[in-house]
């Protein structure tokens, strides 16, 4: 029965209360452990298609008569357009339409000012050179602390306090205080941000877009053009990465749609790689002024953090203080978060926004505190484990962090051996860090399952697979419920006109939001198949089940599923399912711990990460192969964040100095350590019919802190600023030498 409920909706740590209609989730969870399809490694159902270049990404789409847009981007961090002359561009060869000024005041380098649509991209780019702009340069604001001092914030400061922080510090036997900093890093998805817009009539628009949320694009574009949402169709069949940066339409979609309307042709607007490094969002830099106190028995008595996010010209304030609020059971915590409004590009969500940055600061600080107390860092974390949500006292729907710690123990115990393998200037050490993050997903999300005469099934839902393999997981879930092999299940997704509403693929939510809906739809189809079979074979429904592509009777009889579905001829069995509500009054979170082994050349500042063991608790794992790929991807992205990636801005002009992939340094395969993945794989008994949480974000959360803690273990040096370049590493080593001359380059005891 449909039920109207008020529910808390969470995406990327941002909560909203909404009324929604949900179907009851009546299916019992499967027992723990691998089943026929679910819980067993499955290769991607579209892997060959992708590898052979047959998958059609947005970047591949060519529509008849399609024009190409080129975008004029302002060169200044802060300036006003005094005059814009598009006439020469309008007359240039091949040009069919011009657009501008898109805004009068540009607030960051690369903000769109004007656009041209032409028959070819080269013609559009050539025409851009003819656009005349008169600029009035304005003073850029680039320093986050200065922005805070001037009260230039993107939104009001958020302060959150529990307990009595002053008393907490007064009761502490040991207090540590430190400033941590993280840099701005870029998503640099393989497929750049892009959209193709085509008006079918004055009031019907199709948008092909590389996106993480086809329904969100539909909603926003419909609102922008004041259209009924059903007259906007959004398509994203294959997608080349987003990492949080592709949740909204952004200017390129509106540029394409405006120019398409003006010219009567489909228009493609695609960011270049350089644009991608200028104007496609970023993980904002942070300044974290942190303080922690503990009693000598290892109880953390107070935590305090003042967080400044270098948010940029727009965007929102990701919760850098979130880990400090949530990770430990400490009674007294105070955090303040501010987002500085600066003349740099707006931040966008980037794989666990806020928590990646905040976990670096917090989990390094916790190690500093453990060292002062003389406590083992793993034991110290165990002693401060939170049994329930420390913010509001709610129980967790499930939490197996202690089990993660137990499984981390053998990796942690390698440290004596690792330290002993230090060799000459190469000092080796081990560090760990905990992970906490959201990832429970939620309603609404719907799926249909269609079974035809041939006995094969199609999952139909307008979700998107952003490259993470979620389509494969859906096929596994449907196959499990229908008793079919996975390769007898197709998945039709990525088109708002061809399936029901589905979740955003952000906030680690695709599997926990979509998986239960797909299972419910498959169960509905399975029920109908059994009803028909019962009539055909004159048996009771309750003795029949679906297994191995067959209809199986409790008395041992079995028939190929086609014997029943074949009766349908052109008929189809249609199952429908929806995502049930999240458990009332419970906090749904993901947990984990990573243990890093590093080697540091104390003479040259080179840091090599040799091994990372990643233990995460995300409920039931649908596809262990896909899950380990997610863990590896998250850790590699985290490695870049930790060691080599940084968007650099000229301190005087705010110009982005790292606009290409030779200066913006992502890790190469040579930098990738051995990665050992261990997923706890215990279903969350309170969460949906699957007990599965999301895994997209958890693996990147603790990586930087685990590496930095390993560096401290190896060298005694405190690295408190990302990325840990050779310059930063040598600085920290020098500081450590000056502080403790007797421990030059020696492994910390």
């Amino acid at each position: 029965m449909a039920r109207l409920i008020k529910t808390e909706k969470e995406v990327e740590g941002r909560y909203t209360d909404t009324w929604i209609v949900v179907e009851e989730d009546t299916l019992d969870q499967w027992p723990e452990g691998p089943r026929d399809s679910v819980g067993r490694p499955a290769t991607r159902i579209d892997g060959l298609q992708r590898a052979r270049g047959e998958a059609r990404y947005t970047a591949d789409i060519q529509l008849p008569g399609m024009l190409h847009a080129a975008v004029l981007r302002g060169p200044y961090a802060h300036a006003r357009v005094k005059r814009l002359d598009l006439e020469a561009a309008r007359e240039a060869p091949g040009v069919r339409g011009v657009l501008g000024p898109i805004q009068e005041e540009v607030g960051y380098p690369g903000q769109a000012v004007a656009a041209v649509a032409a028959d070819t991209l080269a013609q559009a780019e050539a025409a851009l050179a003819l656009v005349e702009v008169q600029w009035e340069e304005l003073e850029p604001l680039l320093d986050p602390d200065e922005a805070v001092a001037r009260d230039a914030l993107v939104s009001d400061a958020r302060t959150s306090e529990r307990g009595d922080v002053e008393r907490g510090f007064a009761e502490a036997d040991v207090i540590v205080e430190a400033e941590y900093r993280t840099q701005s890093v870029l998503h640099n998805s393989m497929e750049t941000h892009q959209a193709i817009c085509e008006w079918e009539a004055r009031d019907r628009l199709t948008v092909y877009i590389s996106t993480q949320f086809v329904w969100g694009i539909r909603e926003q574009v419909a609102e922008h053009y004041e259209l009924p949402p059903d007259q906007v169709r959004v398509v994203c069949r294959f997608m080349g990465g987003g990492f949080g940066s592709k949740n909204s339409p952004d200017d390129y979609t509106y540029i394409a749609a405006d120019l398409a309307r003006e010219t009567g042709r489909p228009v493609k607007c695609a960011l270049t790689r350089r644009d991608e490094n200028l104007a496609a969002g970023h993980r904002n830099a942070t300044i974290q002024r942190l303080r922690a106190g503990a009693r000598s028995d290892g109880t953390i008595t107070a935590l305090e953090g003042d967080f400044v996010n270098a948010t940029g010209w727009g965007g929102w304030v990701s919760s850098t203080g979130g880990p400090m609020e949530l990770l430990y059971g400490c009674e007294s915590v105070r955090i303040t978060e501010r987002g500085a409004k600066l003349n740099s590009s707006p931040m966008k969500a980037f794989r666990a926004p806020g928590f990646v940055e905040g976990t670096f600061g917090l989990e390094c600080l916790i190690d500093e505190l453990a060292a002062k107390l003389g406590l083992d860092p793993l034991e110290f974390r165990r002693r401060n484990h939170s049994e329930h949500d420390a913010v509001d006292g709610r129980p967790f729907s499930s939490k197996n962090l202690l089990e993660c710690y137990t499984r981390a123990q053998p990796h942690w115990e390698r440290r004596e051996q690792v330290r002993a393998s230090s060799d000459g200037p190469w000092k080796r050490g081990v560090g760990l860090a905990s992970q906490i993050w959201y990832g429970g997903g939620g309603p609404p999300s719907y799926a249909w399952v269609r079974v035809g005469a041939h006995g094969r099934a199609v999952v139909v839902t307008a979700m998107q697979d952003i490259g993470t393999g979620s389509a494969t997981a859906m096929a596994q879930i449907a196959a499990e419920e229908l008793g079919l092999p996975v390769d007898h299940v197709d998945v039709s997704l990525g088109d708002t006109a061809r399936g029901p509403y589905a979740s955003i693929s952000a906030g680690s939510s695709t599997i926990p939001s979509m998986g239960p809906a797909v299972r419910a739809a498959a169960a509905d189809a399975a029920r109908q198949i059994i009803e028909i079979a019962a009539q055909r074979f004159e048996l009771e429904e309750r003795v029949l089940s679906l297994h191995g592509g067959r209809i199986v009777s409790a008395d041992g009889g079995s028939w190929p599923i086609e014997e029943i579905t074949g009766l349908l001829e052109d008929g189809q069995i249609l199952g429908k399912g929806s995502r049930g509500p999240n458990p009332t009054g419970m906090r749904v979170l993901t947990f984990g711990v990573q243990v890093a082994e590093v080697a540091v050349d104390v003479e040259t500042g080179e840091v090599r990460v040799d091994r990372i063991a990643a233990i995460h608790d995300v409920g039931r794992v649908i596809n262990p192969l896909g899950a380990s790929s997610q863990v590896e991807g998250g850790i590699i992205q985290g490695l870049g964040h930790t060691l080599s990636e940084e968007r650099l801005l000229d301190p005087r002009t705010g110009a982005v100095l790292t606009q290409t992939l030779d200066s913006y340094r992502m890790p190469t395969i040579a930098d990738v350590p051995e990665i050992v993945t261990d997923l706890v794989d215990i279903p969350d008994a309170h969460l949906t019919n699957l007990g599965s949480k999301g895994l997209g974000e958890p693996p990147i959360v603790p990586t930087a802190a685990a590496i930095a803690n390993a560096i401290r273990d190896a060298t005694g040096a405190d690295v408190r600023s990302l990325p840990i370049t050779r310059e930063e590493m040598l600085r920290a080593l020098r500081e450590a030498r000056e502080r403790r001359p007797e421990r030059v380059g020696a492994p910390a005891a």
Partner: protein, 278 residues
């Protein structure tokens, strides 16, 4: 833009005038063209006229980095410099002469800031971000020369032969000045054809990078030992490849605030390289 494909050195030389540029592997030139940093009147494709190949002590200027890297008769310093440069794909295309002539990676220069190398009157790196920049000869321009091969070949006492002259490799390079912003002495209509080098008793190339592979040198150290002594040459530390007359010269480096760490790395790598060729 015109593409010329001369079939003799003479034809190539006469085509290389009036603002045209030579195109070999294209790994450096194509990005510069795309960004509009180089805007030539014509491209002169020289692959048919520049010698390729490796003989004892002799390298055709059109030989690729990939070929050098794989040939056992090439001294270690040059093979190692090649294998630590760029990526396999780029090494399969890029030629040795092209590598010697590559431009700085200075981000201000690459972003067309009107800096001194572009004929302007300021060095933006000195007043801005410069952690990848020079520790020697950085008063006028703080750019760093990126070529690993130049350092290796200088350590091998290489000599160049162009269509016009023979010169020690060190004379290919010049520090930019107020009067002349060029960083090489290659003239109009001049084409590097071949290189010769002296076989060392031992040699090695060490390179500090921001990641394990596929990055330009923070500091590269080429070291070789001959009967009459050692040669030490650094990449990534000055607007041109930098020959160290003596290791103690590093004590007299003039780093910028953001490049002091490079001196520390250079000292270590020089010591290790010297140990490596003993």
């Amino acid at each position: 833009m015109e593409l010329l494909r001369p079939d003799s050195v003479e034809a190539a030389a006469s085509a290389l005038r009036d603002g045209s540029v030579a195109l070999a592997g294209g790994t450096e030139l194509v990005p510069l063209l795309r960004e509009g940093i180089v805007a030539p009147s014509a491209l002169v494709q020289i692959d048919r006229v520049v010698p390729k190949g490796i003989r004892e002590g002799w390298i055709g200027a059109g030989t690729t980095l990939g070929e050098l890297e794989a040939d056992p008769q090439i001294p270690a310093v040059l093979r190692e410099a090649c294998s630590l440069a760029a990526s396999p794909q780029l090494r399969a295309m890029g030629t040795v002469a092209g590598n010697l002539l590559q431009a700085t990676r200075c981000w201000y220069w690459r972003l067309k800031f009107p800096c001194r190398l572009h004929g302007g009157d300021r060095c933006f790196a000195k007043e801005g971000l410069h952690r990848e920049h020079a520790i020697f000869a950085n008063d006028f321009c703080a750019s760093a020369h990126p070529s690993d091969l130049a350092a290796a070949l200088l350590a091998l006492r290489a000599t160049l032969k162009t269509n016009l002259r023979e010169l020690p490799l060190s004379e290919l390079y010049r520090l930019p000045t107020q009067e002349d912003r060029a960083t090489t002495t290659l003239g109009d209509g001049e084409l590097i054809l071949e290189l010769t080098y002296e076989q060392p008793l031992a040699s090695t190339y060490l390179k500090a990078m921001d990641r394990r592979r596929y990055a330009f040198a923070i500091v590269g150290v080429a070291a070789s030992r001959y009967e009459d002594g050692e040669r030490l040459v650094l990449a990534g530390v000055a607007p041109v490849p930098w020959v160290l007359e003596d290791p103690s010269e590093l004590d007299r480096a003039t780093p910028l605030p953001g490049t002091e760490y490079k001196v520390e790395i250079a000292k270590t790598l020089v010591r290790r390289a010297r140990e490596g060729i003993r």
